[in-house]
Amino acid sequence: MKGARRQAILLLLPCLLALLVLFLLPQVLMFATSLGRRSAYGGVIRDVSLLNYVRALDPIYLRILARSVGLAFFTTLFCLLMAYPVSYWLGVKAPEKWRNALLVLVILPFWTSFLVRMYAWVFMLRTEGLLNLFLGELGIAPLNMLYNDFAVMLGQVYGELPFMILPLYASIEKLDRSLLEAAADLGASPLRSLWRVTIPLTAPGIVAGSVLVFIPSLGAYLAPDLLGGARTVYIGNLIQSQFAVARDMPFGSALSFLLSLTVLVLLYVFRRPLRASQA
């Protein structure tokens, strides 16, 4: 067993080292920055002060955080509702010889720039866009589909959906089918066997997918900007603007540190199901 441990450590070391140097160390540098102050010309004055954190507790910023959590929650929910049937169909019902090809098709859109695909949505949704042209042919008055919350949600779900489908598929695909058969033989209705057998057995996939979707959605800023018309500010936009507009790196660093902290808390709260998914 000792050998196995050493082997495991050797396997882990390179990845750990990469993350320590390329992620943790920069974060420490960022934290140091968050204790400083913005100089008049947008530079950083080194200091040890928690002023930026006090500033972040202002109700206006807390409201923005709450709104981001809401966005991430609904993105995850809609992704789950859309992805589960697809992953189930892929893993259980789809013809076996097409399965890998269909899976690759889920991720193929990612070979096109996200920005370009977002603009393609703008092209479809706008007042004189493709969808409204089509609706016009049917005699339907143009709909207001762009620059509102609907468009933000659509963009978010569109961007995150594959991150839900992949882990769900991975856990559905290796589901032991004889269990489903047994359930059917014992007279369980398909719905009941879904609820009592399939979903509990694929819980690891559900948790992994939800984490993969929820967490990046917290920091979302492209869909709110491009499809939402920047009419609302989410935490991602706020951080972005500290770096890119206000040139207030210390405050931006403090906000992003708080965001990372939120994530750590979430990971802690959900540690049990997460561990189950990785056992």
Binding site: P14, P85, M124, K174, E181, V245, Q278
Partner: protein
């Protein structure tokens, strides 16, 4: 055999739902592929089939070299991340570590941290360890943000992997390597492949992080695309996206055939085609001969054309690297570290102040710039750089209102942006200085007002205006106007001038109360490796013929007096590009307002979060 009634029963409802989800995923892809063959440049209407955009690609060395860079970076980071990620996932699978929770956090947090944060923190890191920004730093950054995805994907696949198989193999006498190659790897191969595909896709698509950590000669496709998207979704971008998609699809198709156990021969054609498409950029388009003298230019996208660059290269027998940026801040973040090897930058007026105050600029040798006298004195000796010790004006422009005159009539005041008749038809710049500044100008105040009471009043006016505003936008605002999603748009003249050339119902006005003005200048950073050649380049752009060519191809306003007679009348007499003198008198430069920047940002956030 395991498949019996329960799982084989077909379910048309499920299949239909899945088909709809696939349609959702592919709708934008279909749009961009179809419109890459559309003869019309900017409309949703079909104007005939053409290959023209593909032909144009072949002659665009910037896109080809960007594609080349992207492929190299994505391949390198995919190989690295797949190996590191798979090894880590296996380690977790084999052994429960004592600090498991901490390690899980370390692996998951990089997925959430906003890109911009990772980007800035990596800039700090590379500066701290003295690693010069370039190609290598891009690869390291891509590993940093994608290795976690590889671990998570492979791990979720391993979670259900039956370890008794490995134990059985070991019991039967297989060594650890044999067990890994013969049992473990085939079992987790789909997970590894999925992880690799994801990492490749993340890398080939990344814009934010790359734009911060890329150094000389490391412009990737997304950076190039972003600079082109600024002027509306261009069919050339659709074309390059289509090619990339086709190449990937072919490659995956070949892999699929091989996996199906078809003879290798059936996979040859798709592989050759795919490698041909992906390899083309490596053969087309010239590359720097090694050992050549080089000049490294870091400039706004759409600010210099390849032809102009080629002329300089030929005259001086040098190679010029042109890298692009789209915000002053991305450029400032890099240059402030002193960790890049650029010879020429092109900041706007207020960043010149910032760079100057941080001692990041080289004083110019005016004796090496004999053509400086061509610059209109109105643009010289400004407060941001007295005596032009550090900067030479390159382009200038204004921030006014463009609108559809057939729908709105005539506009001559900022008041039009508060006119309830245009509810839902107004676009404001998503830029606190421009939006708040325009409000001040409307009320007879300066763009550089810092009085708190007046700032609060401006906030009130902007909150009132919000219910009339359709969208806030500071990147492709002219495209939003062109599509008539809005009828009135605040924005900068250069971008409007480009669409007005095709759409004569649009017009541009500097409101009677006045408007903002910017001057983008060439400067030499203090750390420039080739200051002499940089002086030669600046003087080259000041020559009348060259300045006229730059203005003609890029359609921004040149401050070069001697170039004006050489310009086509359509540009010279275009009031949107060259406003009459009395209008110029009403313009005001936006200055760095120091500490007050924070208050501006705070008020702007309040406006944007208000209902």
């Amino acid at each position: 055999m395991a498949d019996s009634r329960a799982t084989l029963r077909s379910s048309p409802g499920l299949a239909l739902f899945s088909a709809l989800v696939y349609l959702f995923l592919y709708a934008p892809i279909l749009v961009l592929v179809v419109f890459s063959f559309n003869a019309g440049r900017l409309t949703a209407e079909w104007q005939g089939f053409t290959f023209a955009w593909y032909a144009k690609l072949l002659h665009n060395p910037q896109i080809l070299s960007a594609l080349r860079n992207s492929l190299v970076v994505a391949t390198a980071s995919t190989v690295a991340c797949t190996i590191l990620g798979t090894a880590a996932a296996l380690a977790f699978h084999k052994h429960r570590f004592r600090k498991q929770a901490a390690m899980d956090a370390l692996i998951t947090v990089p997925i959430v941290v906003p890109e911009i944060v990772l980007a800035s923190s990596l800039v700090l890191l590379f500066a701290a360890i003295g690693l010069r920004l370039g190609f290598f730093t891009v690869i390291l950054a891509h590993i940093a943000f994608s290795v976690s995805y590889a671990v998570v994907v492979v791990r979720s696949r391993l979670a259900g992997f039956d370890r008794s198989l490995e134990e059985a193999a070991a019991d039967l006498g297989a060594g650890p390597w044999a067990t890994f190659w013969k049992v473990t790897l085939p079992g987790i191969a789909p997970g590894v492949l999925a992880g690799a595909l994801l990492v490749f896709a993340l890398s080939i698509d990344d814009y934010v992080i790359t734009s911060f950590v890329a150094g000389v000669g490391a412009t990737t496709l997304p950076i190039q695309i972003y600079s082109m998207v600024r002027t509306g979704i261009s069919p050339e971008i659709n074309a390059v996206s289509t090619i990339l998609l086709a190449a990937t699809s072919l490659l995956l198709f070949a892999a699929y055939r091989l996996e199906q156990g078809r003879s290798a021969r059936t996979a040859v054609i798709p592989i050759v085609l795919s490698l041909g498409l992906l390899g083309a950029p490596f053969f087309l388009g010239g590359r720097a001969a090694s050992g050549d003298k080089v000049l490294n230019v870091y400039i706004w996208s759409n600010y210099i054309s390849p032809e102009t660059v080629k002329k300089f290269e030929q005259r001086y027998g040098v190679h010029v690297n042109v890298d692009l940026y789209d915000t002053n801040e991305a450029m400032l973040a890099k240059v402030a570290t002193g960790n890049v090897a650029y010879d020429i930058l092109c900041p706007s007026n207020y960043p010149v102040e910032s760079l100057r105050h941080q001692n990041l600029l080289l004083p110019l040798d005016h004796t090496a710039l004999p053509h400086l006298t061509n610059i209109d004195p109105r643009f010289l000796d400004q407060a941001y750089d007295p005596g032009n010790r550090y900067s030479v004006p390159y382009f200038w422009g204004t921030g006014g209102i463009a609108y559809d005159k057939t729908k709105v009539g005539t506009v001559d005041s900022w008041a039009a942006l508060w006119d309830a008749r245009w509810k839902g038809r107004i676009l404001m710049l998503d830029d606190p200085r421009e939006a708040i500044g325009a409000t001040f100008k409307w009320k007879g105040l300066s763009y550089n007002t810092v009085d708190e009471a007046k700032l609060f009043e401006a906030r009130r006016l902007l909150m009132e205006q919000k219910k009339l505003v359709k969208t806030y936008n500071a990147s492709n605002f002219e495209d939003v106007l062109l599509s008539r999603d809005v009828w009135l748009a605040q924005g900068w003249n250069g971008q409007f001038a480009k669409v007005m050339a095709d759409d004569h119902e649009l017009t541009y006005v500097i409101p009677k109360e006045g408007a903002s003005m910017f001057v983008d200048s060439l400067v030499i950073p203090a750390s420039a490796p080739h200051p002499e050649l940089a002086h030669a380049f600046i003087d080259f752009t000041l020559e009348p013929e060259i300045a006229a060519e730059i203005c003609r191809t890029m359609q921004y306003s040149t401050p070069n007096r001697a170039a004006l007679p050489l310009l086509p009348a359509a540009i010279r007499d275009n009031p949107a590009i060259f406003p009459p003198d009395d209008v110029v008198g009403r313009l005001e430069l936006i200055h760095d307002i120091g500490e007050s920047t924070v208050l501006y940002d705070r008020l702007w956030t309040e406006v944007k979060t208000s209902e």
